[in-house]
Amino acid sequence: MTPTWAQLAYLVAAVCFILALKGLSSPKTARRGNLVGAFGAVLACAIVFFAEDLDNLMPILIAIVVGTVVGVVGARRVQMTQMPQLVALFNGVGGGAAALVALLELDELSRFAEAHIARFDMAATGFTILVGAVSFSGSLVTFAKLQELMTTRPVVFPGLPVAFGAALLASVGLSATLVFEPNLSWGIVLAFVGLALGVLLVLPVGGADVPIVISLLNAFTGLAVAAGGYVLGNAVLLVAGTLVGASGTLLTKLMATAMGRSLFNTLFGALKGGSTLGAGEASDRPVRSAGPQDIAILLGYANRVIVVPGYGLAVAQAQHTLRELVDVLGEKGIVVDYAIHPVAGRMPGHMNVLLAEAQVPYEQLKEMDEINGDFKHADVVLVVGANDVVNPAAKTTPGAPIYGMPILNADEAGQVIFMKRSMRPGFAGIENELLFDPKTTLLFGDAKDTMSKLLTAVKAL
């Protein structure tokens, strides 16, 4: 039995996790919240060494050191643009750990206490194995997609729904078997089915939807940890896992809503064929395009410029060049701000992180609500690799997939410049009337490339 002082300390750790989530929900307290969470985690893991009777101390400590080094180095080295895949990876290994823990516990239970195992315990063990494995393999696939180790397009093959259904049935059957016949072999089979299920779940999801799926898998891992806590009789695991499971599920829904997507569509949209978002074709209506020199003049003689960065900026990694351009314009006395849409980029809030990393002064980063009234006073809006977040269809076209999503009022400015590679639509797969507006000029090409040309041209003015 765990001593009472340790149980109380576990409770303190659980409270830390609650406070961490609370803190993370508000910009002012977010960083402190994260530190409180870290404190809780360290506390919980320190207690276990004093409160329980552990064998194999040496291997455990070495493993912790190894894990810490890997974790810290990974977290410090990664570029901010690769943040999403790193989070996916960390989530995956957590799920894997939960599955392994449950397998070991199953081994223990099935060998020593065959007669006494409560049905409910076995159900929870099976749940942890299954969900942990799903989270592990699913996260690895999202990682591969985001790291572009594989195509970011939805992967659909004819048998996929059948295979998915079969794996789902198998996992239910195996879990039931496990409840009545606790046995390590069944557990291992269940783990493999879980791995397959995770892969099949994530394959049909398109690249831009991946953040939603990462959040979902994150909630899954939370639930697996919670069930693991039940199996091990450890309250802090139960509370922490449940917190993450519940808040993660809500967060997934909030994220999907912020992107104007439904969760069901995100996961299974590609299977239904139909609207695979982002697959929209280029239109051939006439537009006005220009070269870097012309655009440089437009910018150089403006008084007020607003930059709208988007997904394409992140993909092209043009943020450093953009910052330089803005600096140069600033030196010319032009007032330049960045208008940050909450879901611009690859993940919600990603654009803030990207621009902050490129050392953009915080004062120039304006939230949507803050700057939306300023567009009508702007001479030029420079839209870099963004599309949906300035698409007026969100206001004017009921029925459009983004209808109702709040957008940046770029259409109110005097001149609009789009930097993109082609006439292809953005994530939502719908045409943007603003591209065809008489006051719009397009600067075609990869953002990084054209941005440096533009920079040279502006410097030369």
């Binding site: 894990g67 922490a240 967060l251």
Partner: protein, 102 residues
């Protein structure tokens, strides 16, 4: 109360806490919140330590060690990367344009 009901009660209450606590988050913070929550479930490390500490066969210890490594990566890496992200959100003194008078 019987043991399973106790656990169920704690589970149910935690669900409410988890949902209510983040229900006001602004979308700018979605990513750090996800990352922070991700780090929190790294506390499965505690479970990994427990089972490894009780493991007897070499295979079990080996599996346990793998679990400990994975869980530690999740936990430590998660908190560090979240912190790095959140540093970026902090209001900093404005950066001077390079040599504005030149």
């Amino acid at each position: 109360m019987s043991e399973p009901v106790v656990w169920l009660t704690i589970f149910v209450l935690s669900v409410f806490v988890g949902i209510e606590v983040i229900s006001k988050v602004s979308s700018t913070l979605h990513t750090p919140l996800m990352s922070g929550a991700n780090a929190i479930h790294g506390v499965i490390l505690l479970g990994a330590i427990l089972v490894t500490g009780a493991a007897e066969s070499t295979v079990a210890v080996a599996v346990g060690v793998v679990a400990v490594v994975l869980a530690t990566v999740n936990m430590v890496g998660g908190f560090v990367v979240t912190d790095r992200m959140l540093q970026m959100f902090v209001r900093r003194p404005p950066r001077q344009p390079q040599e504005p008078r030149s």
